[in-house]
């Protein structure tokens, strides 16, 4: 039975075992449950554990408790002190109401965001006339107030083809989780996903400056270059496309180099918006080559041939056996 606790914890019980385990465990005493849980053994995966931030939460709870107590004694002083600011706030409020300033303030500071899910793409036109073609599972966020005479800035996650309007003396800044790109007017392809361990940028025309703040690195890119930036060590590799290298995400396909089966599955889910349900792991075999991003049948035929499997498309799911 104790093995079953571990399997339950790791979600590894099949449907009959799961049903039986739940019934049996529900009938156990607290002591029996405790012994079963102890038998799971150590859970070593505490790499993501941020004990400092948990501690900060505890401290802030402690402080808010303390300040609540402290406030009790200061309540009368507080009431007296509150009267004056209220008068000031009321007058400012009437001033704002009469000038309608509040309404515009809301509009220009409101965050606008455009997102795509798996299997979707979209076109966005920004206030300065720049256009962005969003690939699957991508998001752009900006405020009208961040498009002004001195700067244009957006936040980005995912992959997209950017055509940035050239306005002299007004740089366009794209911030992602890991890199910051400064543009003066150009066309380029950016691929920066929070889930991926590298950022990929392909510059078609113009010039851009790429910064990696975490590693204090800056780099300028020339047209026809592709840069790969590792999030693990900040290393930047730049390739010239005419020297036999090319960007991995093209307009109609994605190229893999020695990638595992699960990476291919992720790409299929991303570009076609399907759920892939795959039988036993095929991760021991590596794949090098292109997979189309606009032809599901062809993609599945490639997977069948390379991994010697059968695929079946049923509704929103792809079964691989």
């Amino acid at each position: 039975m104790n093995d079953k606790f571990r399997q339950f914890h790791d979600n590894e019980l099949n449907s009959e075992e799961l049903k039986a385990f739940i019934e049996e465990a529900k009938a156990m005493t607290d002591e029996e449950l405790d012994a079963g849980l102890n038998s799971i053994g150590d859970i070593h995966d505490d790499t993501d554990l941020d004990i400092d931030s948990i501690y900060e939460n505890i401290l802030s709870d402690i402080n808010s408790d303390n300040s609540r107590r402290y406030k009790k004694y200061r309540v009368y002083l507080g009431i007296a002190a509150a009267v004056i600011p209220i008068l000031v706030i009321v007058s400012i409020y009437f001033f704002i109401q009469s000038s309608n300033y509040g309404i515009y303030e809301d509009i220009i500071t409101k965050e606008i965001s455009i997102s795509t899910s798996n299997g979707e793409s979209a076109n966005a036109t920004l206030p300065d006339g720049s256009t962005i073609k969003l690939g699957p599972a991508s998001t752009i966020c900006y405020k009208l107030s961040s498009f002004n005479d001195t700067i244009r800035s957006i936040n980005w996650e995912g992959e997209g083809l950017f055509q940035i309007a050239k306005i002299s003396g007004n740089p366009f800044i794209i911030s992602t989780e890991f890199v910051e790109i400064t543009v003066l007017g150009t066309t380029f392809n950016l691929h920066s996903r929070n889930s991926s361990d590298q950022v990929e940028i392909y510059l078609e025309k113009g010039a851009i400056k790429v910064s990696v703040p975490t590693y204090h690195k800056d780099m300028e890119m020339k047209p026809g270059e592709t840069a790969f930036i590792s999030k693990l060590n900040g290393e930047i590799n730049v390739y010239r496309n005419d020297a036999g290298h090319r960007y991995s995400i093209g307009p109609t396909d994605i190229r893999f180099e020695s990638r595992r089966f699960s990476d291919i599955v992720n790409a299929i889910e991303l570009y076609y918006g399907k759920n892939v349900i795959a039988a036993p792991s095929l991760d021991s075999e590596l794949f090098t080559g292109p997979i189309p991003t606009n032809d599901l049948d062809k993609s599945l035929r490639i997977i069948e041939k390379v991994f010697h499997v059968k695929t079946e498309l049923r509704g929103d799911s792809i079964f691989i056996k």
Binding site: L37, I43, N57, D316, S317
Partner: protein
């Protein structure tokens, strides 16, 4: 620490935090719930520091609080509706197609579907289906009215069930 030394409290925290999270996360899905319980435990420890009997072992005290919370959260998890959802789904699949879907894979499909929901609805579904929390508990934790939770949850669950059904219904 009994005298209010935050330095001593910090030392105790660092000594026990990893062990307690490890102990608690044997009963939870992921470590987030375990982290929240640990926060409660240390806050309780601080607030009751003057009543702690210095002759008794601190470790026994911390673990006795954690023991109770761990059993509670595990029993709640055993009753969480996600397992019934899975068994029901698995029954439909096997009767239609004789295909056996592992719980892990079901969870993957489930997570993918809820990812596409608005964040409030997603939170509600996670609390209700995965953590087995009642509408009242969800309402308190999210600072919403029970009615809002009930409505949000029923709309979210409808989308979830429709999408699950569509994933099953290959022939449509």
């Amino acid at each position: 620490m009994r005298k209010g030394s935050i330095k001593a409290f910090n030392a105790i925290y660092r000594l026990y935090v990893r062990r307690l999270i490890n102990y608690l996360s044997k009963a939870t899905v992921g470590t987030q719930d375990a982290e929240e319980i640990v926060q409660d435990i240390f806050l309780y420890l601080w607030n009751h520091r003057e009543n702690i009997d210095p002759r008794k072992s601190l470790s026994t005290l911390l673990y006795s609080w954690a023991y109770k919370r761990r059993i509670d959260i595990f029993r709640k998890r055993l009753s969480s509706p996600i397992y019934e959802d899975y068994l029901e789904y698995q029954n439909i699949i096997s009767s239609k197609d004789n295909y056996s879907l592992e719980y892990k894979d079901f969870l993957r499909v489930f997570n993918k579907i809820i990812e596409s929901l608005p964040s409030k609805q997603r939170q509600m579904i996670v609390m209700s289906r995965l953590k087995g929390m009642s509408n009242t508990e969800i309402a308190i934790q999210m600072g919403l009215s029970e009615k809002t939770v009930r409505n949000g949850l029923s709309a979210g669950l409808k989308i979830l069930k429709d999408k699950l059904a569509r994933t099953i219904d290959w022939r449509s």
